[in-house]
Symmetry: C3
Subunit: 317 residues, 3 copies
């Protein structure tokens, strides 16, 4: 079995069932640090380098929190504007990485360009974790999703997923690969201009994933064990809050999941995942239904990222 | 006596005399870490989460420095632009806090909206420290002010305060509540458009604070044991340094405290506090008079914030 | 011999040969932390304060990484916009430093204004490290350069340096002082508008540095043991990547060092240093020649900054 020691986490394409299970198992071993709110000393002698070329909250803070929970150190940048503003845009990934590799022991990178973490891994002598690369992948997010489903449903086999939202998003790519390793079938619901690319459909078919597409959440929700959501209305950071608020409520009903829909049509044990932040596709009155599992994802995020860091850095095997 | 373990620090409204004294006492117990410049290990197993929705220097760095002095870890953001730019403005406090609560053991929040830390505390399973909320309160700043006065004057009773500046500021609200718990009387001096709101005046009267208002610092300074200042000319960050410098000197004499005024009119043991940064309301030639006590506030800031963190996180009681 | 304990590192003007050697020696003693990628506990009880008034990547991250490698803590700001935006521009260095000094045990400052770290050191009770001050100096960068040359060439005496680029840059000032302490002669190549100032030439002559000036790299490269580069085309952060890319290739041939030039004209053991990031003055096909030594500088940066921090903070002597 391939060891995680020194391994780059770039894509879920090459993750096998036992890779998921190994991470989940180490996650449960390390979970007491998160549950009991007690930082340990497992990675006290290690430094995490965060290289976030795009703003992020959950992914960056969750990775850093995991490192701190294990007693580790963190250096890095959370926005390229904090660096020699724009230099990063003008400096090659190679030049940047051949600096960053000496500042710590593992690099967590988010980049606006697909493939940037792969290029980084090519040059780095320390492992690279892809924390989201453009339209590419978001492997750690989906490891957290899969762990959450595994814990909440007790299994990853024999499930049907309903995936709603912008299918071009990187999480959708990563979960496509993840689903194909388990006995999971899927229904995709997306606006036509945001639907699965033909290329990605081919790829999913070639790995024997059983899936179909539906036009509305409502017609597809009855069969779903897991409802996996991404926004279709993206936040627009160039406008004021008031302007954005006026635009809220713009998600067409076909791509929303409501409390009524869950009550009237969903399986009684269906669970809803959303990596957040949300726009109006997931109204807040879903929060206190038994279906909501998106809160626990922040907690699981720390658990799984502790597991990844410990495995990659040789503090667990 | 109410324990500080797990307690939110949102307002000084509900702080009793013994609460102040407990914090001051723990401050003095922990002070050697600051005085001897030696980080300890008291909070080594804990993580502070900083959620600063508005830029800050003193409050954020001082809180982080206190955590580090006790050996603790820090994660967070110091500017919402560093996060998924603007997401925070569009994401509810609830959604954000139900993520942040898993990243550490106490949340220190500054927010441009009054009441935001209270909303955060409603949802968080870890304690929330209000580090300034819009026009609301700034309880930790005023705990530091009161500690400074207590140490410098030897008591908090039998004193007369002269408060100068924009009375709508959050520190003015917090110190209003603080004064009312001690045998302190007050004179307020502010430009008419920045004077105490009728509502806040009612509140101060209802808790039996003895206070009056004066038109100029000069006429009121003779009775003051403590001169407590806030700027009335706010820094304007939308303009260049040169433009701002040209505008300097704009604070009307009535709201300034000068070296001459202190020499000619103030009590010989009156002390001047200012939470800084300052504009021109407090000329730099006051710095080397015996009245200046604003420098020691940065030091006391670390001492009191160590005490608060240790108390809230159960490392002191 | 003057001790480094509590010493400000503001300029290389007053650095003697034994100062360089002491730092190099402590660097080699501490190097195992970097080489073996194991954070130690030497500075566990200390906090580094970073005060970066200008964005930086290498200098800031390298200093922070060194502190973490020795188990230390870090607080600070990496961009004044993260603070009360612009306040720093309006607040005096004195006011700022008399706050920062209480937040840690050593201050690392980059500032857009020449002399700002000197002003900070005047008021601070903790030592100040100049991490680049406007057109002033960049002493730590040049300590790393000299260490790199010392390790790669085995000596700092009997060498000829070719310095190419904008001679008004702070690194050029620091390396001028550094060269004058060793048996080093120099040739400077710069565009006329970026050549050595008369004042600085006088200064170099007064300390007996033997140097001349040449018009092109090509004519001067044959004698060089060390080729030391700075860009002459500065990155322009006000423009888009595309616009900047269109402008690339603008460095005149006279100020570039190419693979062909190194093959045809340079000494076979000449080494090329560049503090990076680079524009087009140093094409990437030089990277895999035996002359390139700019990659190892990032590694040496952590080594030398560990040595400086340990010496200044009394963990080495």
């Amino acid at each position: 079995m391939r060891s995680f020691l020194g391994r780059d986490i770039l894509s879920l394409k090459d993750f096998e069932r036992h890779d998921y299970m190994r991470i989940f198992q180490v996650g449960e071993e390390l979970e007491p640090y998160a549950r009991d709110r007690q930082n340990g000393e497992l990675l006290m002698d290690k430094t995490l380098v965060t290289a976030f070329y795009q703003p992020s909250t959950r992914t960056r803070l969750s990775t850093e929190a995991a490192m701190h929970r294990l007693g580790g150190h963190v250096v890095g940048f959370s926005d390229p504007r904090m660096t020699r503003a724009g230099d990063f845009y003008q400096e090659s990934i190679k030049d940047t990485v051949r600096m960053l590799e000496y500042y710590g022991d593992v690099i967590a990178m988010r980049h606006f360009q697909q493939g940037a973490p792969h290029e980084a891994a090519k040059w780095s002598t320390v492992p690279v974790i892809n924390c989201g690369d453009g339209w590419g992948e978001h492997p750690t997010q989906v490891l957290i999703d899969m762990f959450t489903i595994w814990r909440e449903m007790g299994t990853l086999d024999g499930l049907h997923f309903l995936l709603v939202g912008d299918m071009r998003m990187r999480t959708m790519h990563s979960i496509g690969y993840a689903m194909s390793k388990f006995d999971i079938s899927a229904t995709f619901v997306a606006p036509p201009e945001m639907s699965l690319t033909e290329e990605f459909k081919e790829e999913l078919l070639s790995v024997n994933l059983v899936f179909d597409e539906a036009e509305t959440t409502e017609e597809a929700i009855a069969d779903a064990d897991v409802i996996y959501m991404e926004p279709v209305v993206q936040a627009d950071y160039t406008r004021s809050r008031v302007e954005v608020e006026e635009d809220r409520g713009l998600t067409p009903a076909a791509y929303r999941v409501t409390r009524e829909m869950l009550r009237d049509r969903a399986k009684s044990d269906a669970i809803v995942l959303h990596s957040l932040p949300r726009m109006d596709e997931l109204p807040t009155d879903v929060d206190d239904t038994r279906h909501a599992r998106y809160w626990v994802e922040a907690y699981n995020g720390v658990v799984i990222r502790m597991a990844l860091l410990a495995l990659i850095l040789g503090a667990a095997e």
